[in-house]
């Protein structure tokens, strides 16, 4: 390819990205830099280095909150990835009306975000009125307060988060699976591969980038858990603390105490964790590499 042509392509590529840039700058990069600035300054604007970090780590709610999200993220991430990929592969087995019906059913809870779900989950978690009361009682909870006992919370939140979030990711994975040319599948079937082999050996590796993307984002979403504990806090009229997760703690620091610097420090802690995970995943799956 002639050198002039290649250079032309460089500039042209940038042109496509241009409309996106002002938004990225205004609502992404600048606020992020401001948050970083807040994390290393005091409320008067003086530079204080890692003061905010050490101060927030010593807050009596900090360590419990991080313990909580560690347990939560492990439970949540594993179940999400396994079940989402599994269900998407199952759905993709045979396209048609049935699968689009299932897709709709899986997805529709995603429309119940935050405040909308408070009422629903109050009733779902109360063994006296819940449709799943037999399951709740089997697990040992006979009262509402028992089903939201502290030890159960990571699992309760993981269940709620899965219920609202899985559908969307299933749709994305299904769309990803659709980009696989059907001839490949045909060829494998002709070669005698069973449906499970096709799913695991053929389809799964081909949607690697999408799964990587899902893992990165879900790890971040998991560690930044906010909505589920907040909504159970509201449904239970405060029985579940409003600083259960680290993100909730950051929010409380910012808005209840006016300590934006502390909140920024906790947020930076969360971003760093998310970035480390992202880095590992990007490296190992080549997410940034385009087709060679």
């Amino acid at each position: 390819m002639p050198a002039t042509r290649k250079r032309g392509r460089h500039a042209q590529g940038l042109l496509f990205v241009l409309p996106y840039l002002p938004f990225l700058l205004l609502f992404g990069i600048l606020p992020m830099l401001y948050a970083l600035y807040l994390a290393v300054t005091s409320d008067t604007g003086a530079l204080v280095g890692i003061d905010n970090f050490t101060r927030t780590i010593r807050d009596y709610r900090f360590v419990p909150a991080f313990e909580h999200i560690l347990i939560y993220t492990s439970v949540w991430l594993v179940s999400l990835v396994v079940l989402v990929v599994g269900l998407a592969l199952l759905l993709h087995g045979r396209a048609g009306r049935v699968t689009s019906g299932f897709r709709f059913l899986f997805y529709i809870p995603g429309a119940l975000a935050g405040a909308s779900a408070v009422l629903v989950w109050l009733f779902m978690l109360d063994p006296s009125v819940s449709p799943g009361s037999s399951l709740l009682r089997l697990s040992g909870a006979h009262l509402f307060v028992e089903s939201i006992a502290p030890g159960r919370l990571p699992f309760v939140f993981a269940m709620i988060a899965f219920w609202t979030g899985a559908g969307g990711w299933i749709v994305v994975m299904y769309g990803a699976l659709n980009t696989i040319p059907p001839d490949l599948e045909e060829a494998a079937r002709i070669d005698g591969a069973g449906p499970i082999t096709i799913a695991l050996r053929l389809k799964l590796p081909l949607i690697r980038k999408w799964v990587a993307y899902m893992v990165i984002l879900s790890f971040a979403t998991g560690t930044q858990l906010f909505i589920e504990p907040q909504l159970v806090n509201e449904a239970s009229l405060g029985l579940v603390p409003d600083t259960w997760s680290s993100n909730q703690l950051a929010y409380q620091l910012a808005f209840r105490y006016g300590d934006f610097n502390g909140a920024a420090a906790v947020s930076v802690d969360l971003i760093v964790i998310g970035l480390i995970a992202a880095l590992i995943i990007v490296r190992r799956t080549g997410l940034f590499r385009t087709e060679e």
């Binding site: 307060v145 029985l239 808005f255």
Partner: protein, 452 residues
């Protein structure tokens, strides 16, 4: 161009997509024009002295609307919000943002969180205006002393309460007569009755202790010093006799089921004790239980419930009781129309008092309005007997040794005590951890805590 012919999507599709993008851009353009056209923000702070911006919750909207009607020459901008109730941080969030941009403050705010004025009056929020020069002293003196004390932070009064939430003893007269019980007047009689009920009529209850505010009923009312400001020090002493003796009294009742550690607002409570089951024999609770709890949540039929005076501890005087709420009105320090704001607050608390189903929500804190309101309450036909004497007496009996603080203590109670009561622990065993957790929360909010 031979590859183009191979595509499964014809040119028409790309044309359609082109048109879609054009449509999208048109929508964008229209939206932009609409947004810029109606550009001026609706809730601007009052620039001239005839303007007023008032923030109210849904239940107080009728007050604001009535004021607008009665004062046609004042331009009032009424904004409804969530009332900052139930532990929300709406007002902290908003005030932070307003402070940082230097504009946007309303003139008057009604809050459902009774401790909001405490942090509003102090750094870093510094939002509330002192009322001493805004409302005449002879008007302010008509609020019951405990109410004024609650609104006084560091010696200055920053709010007036709209309504009181004094705790009384709610009694199911029908059941009491049916079982042949006498209405208790002391905590000891109440406890004895509870024990009796547990054996004679198991399943019936004389109270509950699982709400996020139950400590305000049982501990505050009995003078337990868990939130007592002495100068600039906060006393949190759960080992005090006033606390331990209450725990000792209630523990057997929690154990035998007469005072379950459940919240009255969850469905399982309503199923077990409300409606047709009708198993609430008695319940110490705030004045607003009348409609919000018994009628609307538990659906207990009319002609059964009444209120009696707060319980006394043995023969100790004065009789004290607790409070569960009671929303304050706050005027903004930054208001450009302080006079108008004060006028609004005074009108809303001292004049507005319709009758019938449009009646004020909640027992009026301004004493002269209480009598007509109580008459309206009695004539509603819901009560078995007139609850007015009990409510009136209790209004002045709220213990002033429990001060409001800038941090919410209800979640601490729920998390350290209620959780454990449900798993079978006793209240006495949870008092110390409760005190410790309160101390932590207090210190995180900047208080100096003393433990005895």
């Amino acid at each position: 161009m031979r590859f183009f012919r191979r595509l499964s999507t014809p040119r028409s599709v790309s044309r359609r997509l082109g048109r879609t993008m054009l449509a999208g851009l048109t929508v964008l353009a229209m939206v932009t024009v609409a947004a810029c056209g109606g550009g001026s923000p609706k809730a601007a702070p009052s620039q001239d002295s005839k303007e007023l911006t008032v923030w109210v919750d849904a239940a107080r909207l009728p007050v604001a609307q009535a004021y607008v009607k009665e004062h046609p020459n004042v331009h009032v901008n009424v904004v409804t919000f969530d009332g900052d109730g139930n532990g929300a941080t709406t007002l902290q969030t908003k005030i932070q943002l307003w402070n940082r941009t230097g504009s946007g403050w309303p003139d008057v705010i009604f809050s459902e969180q009774v401790n909001d004025p405490v942090w509003m009056a102090q750094k870093p929020f510094e939002f509330a205006a002192p009322l001493t020069n805004l409302i005449p002293a002879d008007v302010l003196s008509q609020w019951p002393a405990p109410s004024t004390a609650q609104c006084t932070i560091n010696g200055t009064q920053y709010c007036v309460q709209d309504n009181l939430a004094q705790s009384v003893l709610w009694v199911n007269k029908k059941l009491m007569t049916q079982f042949g019980y006498a209405t208790p007047t002391t905590w000891q009689q109440w406890a004895a009755l509870g024990t009796k009920v547990a054996t004679e009529h198991p399943g019936y209850i004389v109270g509950n202790i699982g709400d996020s505010f139950s400590h305000w009923i049982y501990l505050w009312g009995n003078q337990c010093p868990l939130q007592q400001l002495n100068g600039d020090k906060l006393l949190i002493n759960p080992a005090d006799a006033h606390c331990t003796r209450v725990a000792g009294l209630i523990d057997p009742l929690i154990k035998n089921g007469a005072v379950p550690p459940l919240s009255v607002f969850t469905p399982d409570f309503a199923r077990k004790y409300g409606g047709a089951k009708d198993k609430v024999l008695m319940m110490p609770g705030p004045s607003w239980y009348a409609q919000a709890l018994f009628d609307q949540t538990l659906h207990i039929p009319a002609g059964q419930i009444t209120a009696t005076a707060p319980l006394q501890w043995e023969s100790e005087t004065p009789v004290t009781t607790g409070q569960v709420g009671g929303g304050p009105w706050i005027i903004a320090k930054h208001s450009h129309n302080l006079k108008g704001a004060a006028d609004f607050v005074v009108w809303a608390t001292t004049v507005f008092n319709p009758t019938g189903k449009d009646a004020r929500p909640g027992y009026p804190a301004y004493a002269p309005l209480a009598d007509p309101w109580l008459k309206g309450l009695a004539s509603s036909g819901y009560f078995a007997a007139d609850p007015a004497p009990a409510l009136k007496a209790a209004a002045g009996q709220i213990w002033t040794g429990w001060n409001l603080v800038s941090y919410p203590d209800q979640p601490v109670w729920s998390n350290t005590v209620v959780n454990q009561l449900v798993s079978g622990k006793s209240l006495s065993s949870r008092l110390q951890p409760f005190g410790d957790a309160l101390a932590q929360a207090a210190q995180a909010s900047g208080y100096t805590v003393t433990r005895q």
